[in-house]
């Protein structure tokens, strides 16, 4: 239990460190054109929805295949 809490602390801690690193970037170098506008409009969520849908569909397919092979293994034994 203690170990688990330590893990999450480390996990989120490194996330926050990432945020502070980004803040430093903003003040220093010349800005580079990124697709920030797209994300600000919220459209990136559409892409994520599409990708995750495809991913879940593929997983469903592989899981069905897994079950079918398990059944086949039982029938052969």
């Amino acid at each position: 239990m203690h170990k688990k809490a330590y893990f999450w602390l480390l996990f989120f801690g490194s996330w926050f460190m990432g945020f502070s690193a980004r803040a430093q970037d903003a003040t220093g170098r010349k800005p580079v054109e990124m697709a920030d506008g797209l994300r600000a409009n919220g459209k990136i969520y559409v892409v994520i929805a599409v990708v995750v849908t495809i991913l879940l569909g593929l997983f469903a397919y592989v899981i069905r295949l897994d079950r079918k092979i398990s059944r086949l293994e039982k029938s052969v034994k």
Partner: protein
Amino acid sequence: MLRQYWWKIICVVALVYTCIEGFLGSVPALPIINETIRNLYFHVAMWFGMMILFIVSVIYSIKYLRTNNHVFDIYALEYAKGGIVFGCLGLLTGSIWAGFTWGAFWSNDPKQLGAVIALLIYFAYLVLRNSMTDMDKRARIGAVYNIFAFAMLFPTIWIIPRMVESLHPGGMGNPALDTNDIDKRMRIVFWPGAVPGWTLLGVWITTLRIRLQLVAEKKHTSEPSKKKFSHA
């Protein structure tokens, strides 16, 4: 491992995390590369997956040579096939990425050529196996060749591309995962998400193929009068 499911859950969670945080998370702002740096979670993970599957394959080839157990030969073959699929996807995705950042889909870069040579050597593994009809001979020569193919991965994708100038990160002695290119924000998606996720997906599909081959084997030995099953 073959019929357990706990690692399949890890695979699903890791890949869903990669595909959400991989697009949402913030990345370093670099010129030319821009948002394509997110390809790290997909393109680079393919090569990690390929390398791990090839390592497992060569371990089973050695195991086969030590024990002469035909099952290990099936494992070695299927893991090599899984690795080849990942390698081809890595090459294709790398070519797409290069098309929009290096200016050409194919520029005969040492890294590209090395990867193609490594994959051709593995294609030859499949061709060599299918050129023999005797099962024991096929398995033994296949296992020996698989060790050679694995050894050839080191000069072709690990050493030579690092010794010569290359457009690809990792040229001229720098590690491919340079700290200037990726930082903490990306590592937290790449290491716990992309690498284990894609690798485990490859292992999952490979184990399904192994199980199918083992079932076919069992059917073949229990019904000797039926048509011989090909292991190609």
